[in-house]
Amino acid sequence: MGKIAAIGIDVGSTTAKIVGVDEKGEFIWSYIEPAHPRVEDQVDRFLKKLEEENGPIDGIPIVATGYGRNLVHQATRKVTEITCHALGVFRQLGHGGTLIDIGGQDSKVIIIGPSGEVVDFAMNDKCAAGTGRFLENTAGRLMVKLDEMGQLALSSEEEVPISSTCTVFAESEIISMIAHGVRVEPILKGLHRSLVKRVVAMVRSVGLVPPLMLSGGVVKNPAIRKMIEEETGQKVIMPDHPQFMGAYGAALIALRGSRRK
């Protein structure tokens, strides 16, 4: 394993991630935690952990991204998730196309050009529909573990349509379904469908440029992946560390910046 030459930190709405790359830009170290309200302390802890495992980090460039990026005072530069995700995924997969990133609080569709640049993007509007929060909220209500949700949804043949795309309204809808004796699995399947339809609508609004790629924490859920393939008719490609693409892209930008100097 090479020495860490640049660091990327992605402070998202739900999780905080850190990635270290070597001087060739290879992904060599990463760490993830639920996002802490005291961003500065969390980042300090991240960096200390990195130092303990990899040696001193003095002089190593750091780029921050994500909603909390402006609070990362240790960063030499701050770049948006859009640019970072595009770069990270492009570097891992080696081609452009359409990237869907479903995060905790927002989901985005990014059209990546042939050299890794952002050609166009769309983000969910001012609500949590179509994001990880949508599933998280309802998982709690149905007493299902978040990481089992996808499997359970796929295990059902039946599917009940959830008409609300609003997270809060969907929850009320589910409560009334349970009251009517509907089983949990078909509800789960309907929930996933609702989320995926919302995301695919966003893909259509910018226009799909194949191949279709997927990143973000929600891709660990197999039902989402399968349903996106069903709804778009496209095979989905995933990078090796889907949840770290923002932080990885940030690290690559940090590396590029240090080379320029």
Partner: protein
């Protein structure tokens, strides 16, 4: 309307004597003072000197309004109304939309709109309408006091909301309402549509005459039309100066200084105002002054301004070397100037007022945007998707995609509302703008 000599006396004393002197003194002070302390001179050119006159004009407009009842007939009109008839009849004309924008810019629109919401008007209704109805119900306004209307005058060339909004006003104030119905123009206006609008305008005259208590002087109408034409011509020239690099004024400046062309059309002082503004803009060009100090990228703005975020947005973009130099919105009050023909007042009014940007097909707007991208040499576009203004926002998804496809420039759909800050998500908007700007460089 009933005339009252005491009201006239009050009007002359408070507006013509005290008000004029006070406002002139205020303007004199403002012209001598440097830019306000909060003005970001590090990223923006100093404020336009004409600003002192804009302030004087607007303040006087609302001061006149405050004392107009009983002295002059008062009409409340929509922003795209053929107001020349009323100006020629000596009406004081109030624009609830402009008043709404003012409330937005002064950040009191939520408080006033809530008055309407509490009375049962849905939050899905246009925020201008809610602000106006709220002001009507509560009397709240940042300008002191609004005059009661003697006549309501609505033209459907901007939206269909005005049809219902003005009925609410008519019901409340118990005064006559004139509606000018302008058929939608898909490609170019049909002659029979123009004839139809012209007939309605002619039919409106006797009603407006009756309320005003006097006959329309056609010579006066032609004079008003000439002033309208001259002011709109000058405004158009001011905006076209934005083709210069660096652009001498930004769209954010235009949003502020467009008030006279909207609410004081047909008056001689409006012509003088825009002549002076054009002169100042030309001086800036001569000296090479750009509205944004470090102009690196040039953008188009589509749709209404986000009134309560004007300064923040202007500074945010200027900090990043981005100047917004052209907009479909401000252009709407200039681009039809050549159609105004003082010699044929009714026909040319019909022809002009039937084809503002909101009453023509969405393809026309796309054409206009494309022309602006070429003529103003723009690097991208921000399309404000305005929750309150559906007729302006419809088609924006396709328009955005076509601009990207045909010109390869980035275009951003920014979700907000022109007057309701509750429909603006600061973090989300910032995230989109940040990413969009990274794409520009």
């Amino acid at each position: 309307m009933k005339r009252d000599w005491r009201a006239s006396l009050r009007y002359y004393w408070n507006v013509k004597v005290l008000g004029n002197a006070y406002l002139r003194w205020q303007r004199w002070k403002m012209e001598r003072k440097g830019p306000p302390r909060k003005w970001r001179t590090d990223i923006l050119a100093p404020p336009l000197k004409i600003g002192a006159r804009t302030k004087e004009l607007i303040s006087r407009h609302y001061l006149e309004g405050r004392y107009a009842n009983g002295h002059k007939p008062v009409a409340w009109v929509t922003s795209g109304a053929p107001v020349e008839i009323l100006q020629a009849l000596g009406y004081y004309v109030l624009y609830p939309e402009n008043h709404g924008a003012l409330c937005g810019a002064r950040k009191v629109s939520v408080e006033i709109a809530s008055e309407a919401e509490n009375a049962g008007y849905s939050r899905d209704i246009c925020s201008y309408a809610r602000t106006d109805i709220g002001a009507m119900l509560s009397g709240k306004t940042p300008v002191g006091k609004l005059p009661k209307p003697d006549l309501l005058f609505a033209c459907t060339n901007i939206c269909q909301t005005v049809l219902f909004w003005y009925r609410v006003l008519a019901e409340h104030f118990k005064v006559p309402l004139i509606v000018i119905d302008t058929p939608f123009v898909y490609t170019s206006p049909e002659e029979h549509s123009i004839e139809y609008v012209k007939k309605q305008l002619e039919n409106a005259v006797p009603i407006a005459e009756e309320v005003a208590g006097k006959k329309l002087d056609y010579k006066k109408l032609k004079q008003v039309m000439r002033y309208s034409r001259m002011a709109a011509d000058l405004w158009l020239q001011v905006m076209e100066r934005g083709k210069n690099r660096p652009a001498p004024i930004s769209v954010f400046d235009q949003f502020i200084h467009m008030a006279p062309i909207v609410e004081m059309r047909g008056k001689p002082e409006t012509v003088d105002f825009y002549a002076a503004m054009l002169k100042e803009v030309d001086e800036r060009i001569e000296k090479g002054i750009g509205a944004v100090r470090n102009e690196q990228r040039r953008l188009l703005w589509d749709n209404l301004p986000i009134w309560y975020k004007l300064r923040e947005l202007s500074e945010y973009l200027a900090e990043r070397g981005v100047a917004v130099v052209a907009s479909t919105y401000t252009m709407a009050w200039g681009e039809l100037a050549p159609l105004i023909d003082p010699e044929k007042p009714f026909e040319s009014m019909a022809r002009t007022y039937i084809q503002p940007i909101l009453n023509v097909g969405t393809g026309k707007k796309l054409e206009k945007m494309k022309k602006m991208i070429e003529e103003f040499q723009l690097d991208g576009a921000i399309l404000h998707s305005d929750r309150s203004c559906k007729p302006y926002s419809i088609g924006q998804v396709d328009q955005r995609n076509r601009l990207i496809r045909d010109y390869g420039v980035p275009a951003l759909l920014l979700e907000a509302d022109h007057n309701d800050p509750r429909a603006y998500a600061e973090e989300q908007a910032r995230a989109r703008l940040d990413a969009f700007i990274e794409m520009l460089y």
